[in-house]
């Protein structure tokens, strides 16, 4: 079965969510991957959205973080303040699943500005829930498409901290969670190296070369000693993903590629 690099990215990210884990989900790519996990390998994954739904099981992907579909399919809907206070800060979230505009080699995230804060080249939407998700979730997964513009040597602004300056930086900052444990892109999977906590490539998606990854990374990306090849998406995974996207497009009146 043929598949796109975007489909490979979503499938590879979905496989990282263990069945039964409690996942705080960002809108967009994380939400798509988390719901694919729920529809395939991890039917009992618990999805929490910052707008208030806990245990959401949407039949179609939400366009906004507060779509009614999330409330209707949730186990319970609480206030946004309760989400952040009791459920996230209270230590009940296993995985924070985040997107990003830019990341660096330590998994720090920028969603605020490109350029100077007061004279920005590009003004991004801002922090949203990410800084505290990155801080307090027991672990963090990051999903984004890879390019030299998004994987940068130095972030103009650290919105949400990953492994800070590397090493035991997180511990010194007093952050409760373990921080990012994986970055999943359309080309590869990266994981933090022991000791340094610098992200290195641990798996290449089928057909992707090291040169492609190097060209699409703004720092001198390194490769783990034993780089695996990601298993290609199975027919079941691809079928579930394509059905989800088709249902979503139909519900929101979009073209299939937009979902």
């Amino acid at each position: 079965m043929t598949y796109t690099t975007n489909e490979m990215m979503t499938v590879a990210a979905a496989r990282r969510l263990k069945n039964g884990s409690v996942c705080f989900v960002g809108i967009g790519l994380p939400s798509k991957a988390a719901n694919l996990a729920r529809l395939t390998s991890s039917p009992d994954v618990v999805l929490i959205y910052e707008s208030g739904p806990i245990g959401a099981k949407p039949d179609v992907l939400p366009l906004s973080i507060g779509d009614g579909e999330l409330a209707e399919t949730a186990d319970t809907v609480v206030s946004t303040s309760e989400i952040f206070r009791y459920w996230l800060q209270g230590g009940r979230v296993d995985v924070g699943f985040l997107g990003a505009a830019q990341v660096d080699r330590f998994g720090n995230i920028n969603t605020t500005v490109v350029g100077d804060y007061h004279q920005p080249k590009v003004r991004l939407p801002g922090a949203g829930g990410a800084p505290e998700i990155a801080g307090s979730a027991k672990s963090v997964l990051i999903i984004l498409k890879q390019s030299a513009r998004s994987f940068v040597d130095k972030l103009d602004f650290i919105t949400s901290v990953g492994h800070g300056e590397g090493g035991d930086s997180r511990k010194r900052l007093g952050l409760p969670g373990a921080g990012p444990v994986g970055i999943i892109t359309d080309l590869c999977t990266m994981e933090p190296e022991e000791q340094t906590n610098e992200f290195v490539v641990t798996a290449l998606h089928p057909g992707v070369t090291r040169e492609q990854v190097i060209a699409a990374t703004g720092w001198a990306i390194r490769f783990a000693d034993n780089v695996q090849e990601t298993a290609a998406p199975s027919a079941v995974e691809l079928g579930a993903l394509r059905d989800l996207e088709a249902r979503t497009a139909l519900a929101h009146g979009q073209a299939p590629g937009e979902a």
Binding site: I27, E50, S51, G52, P53, L63, S64, I65, G66, D67, G68, L70, A71, V77, S79, T80, S81, I83, F84, R85, L88, Q89, N108, T112, Y117, Q119, P120, R123, P125, G126, A127, G128, G129, A130, P131, E132, G135, S136, F157, I158, T159, S160, V161, G164, S169, R170, L173, G174, L175, P176, H252, G253
Partner: protein, 285 residues
């Protein structure tokens, strides 16, 4: 006790130039009609607060009603940037806009603190983030019991909060449900609170633990069906995803934006006229 009055009268009576105003809504129950009425009445120098400023704040900023924005995520959800917000920040059009930027957890806690009558909120946040470097109001406090250093942020206590809800009864008690975001906290943090509702009924028939805002905690209740458009009111209206997309080209350019405001806001007497005009325009397409 909340008076049940027109939205025109509520904005006239309870929103003043220079006020700190929160029009809250976490993609659901966004009080768009009230934002339009604030523009119609030409309110000035407002400090706008909202966790997720979107189209209605783009309109208020572009129409020159705001001098400051306090927020944690600003954008047109699923579409892109808020062009009027960017133009105000980057090019001071139609006037300079000061921004004060937080995270969601911070502002959610700040509303809770405001509703609780406290001067500040405490939370575990911001270690390693650059946000405190650009927002001097994000400070730290040391726990007197454990010594842990935590983030401290000022509470949000708006002069006026405006929210949209599903139902009110004839005394002005309000029932809301679905995704509530920080609606209750924002309402109780404010000195005055205006609520627009989909319908007014004899009996709310509220389940025991439902979110009910009692009339004596509110200033005014206004009957404005569909007043959250293009957002939605769960059980009454659907989110108008097309309008969010259509807003992008309107807001991108100062001339098309100004023409839209003149035609659709200043060119209509109230929200139901606005809705009728919008419906005629979309039928003509």
């Amino acid at each position: 006790m909340a008076d049940i009055i027109s939205l025109h009268d509520a904005v006239k009576q309870f929103v003043s130039d220079g006020d700190t105003v929160a029009l809250e809504g976490f993609t659901h129950l966004i009080p768009t009609a009230a934002g339009h009425e604030i523009i119609r009445q030409g309110k000035k120098d407002l400090t706008l607060v909202r966790m997720t400023p979107d189209l209605v704040y783009d309109q208020l900023i572009g129409a020159g009603c705001a001098r400051k924005l306090i927020f944690s995520w600003g954008g047109n959800p699923g579409v892109g940037s808020l062009h009027r917000l960017r133009d105000a920040v980057e090019k001071q059009w139609p006037q300079a806009l000061e921004i004060e930027e937080h995270s969601h957890a911070d502002l959610a806690n700040a509303y809770v603190a405001g509703a609780s009558g406290l001067p500040f909120a405490v939370l575990r946040a911001y270690a390693g983030s650059d946000l405190p470097k650009v927002n001097p109001l994000i400070k730290t406090v040391t726990c007197p019991f454990t010594g842990e250093v935590l983030a401290a942020v000022p509470s949000v206590r708006p002069d006026v909060t405006v929210i949209h809800a599903q139902k009110a009864d004839r005394k002005g008690n309000v029932l809301l449900w679905g995704i509530l975001g920080v609606q209750k906290e924002a309402a109780l943090a404010a000195k005055r609170c205006i609520v627009t509702v989909e319908e007014i009924v004899d009996d709310l028939q509220a389940p025991m633990n439902a979110c009910v805002l009692p009339t004596w905690a509110l200033s005014a209740v206004c009957h404005v069906p569909g007043g959250a458009h293009p957002s939605y009111a769960h059980g009454y209206t659907e989110r108008d995803n097309r309008f969010y997309q259509a807003w992008d080209p309107i807001a991108r350019d100062r001339e098309t934006f100004t023409a839209w405001i003149n035609e659709y806001i200043h060119g209509t007497a109230n929200f139901s006229e606005f809705q009728a005009k919008l419906a005629r325009a979309s039928e003509a397409k």
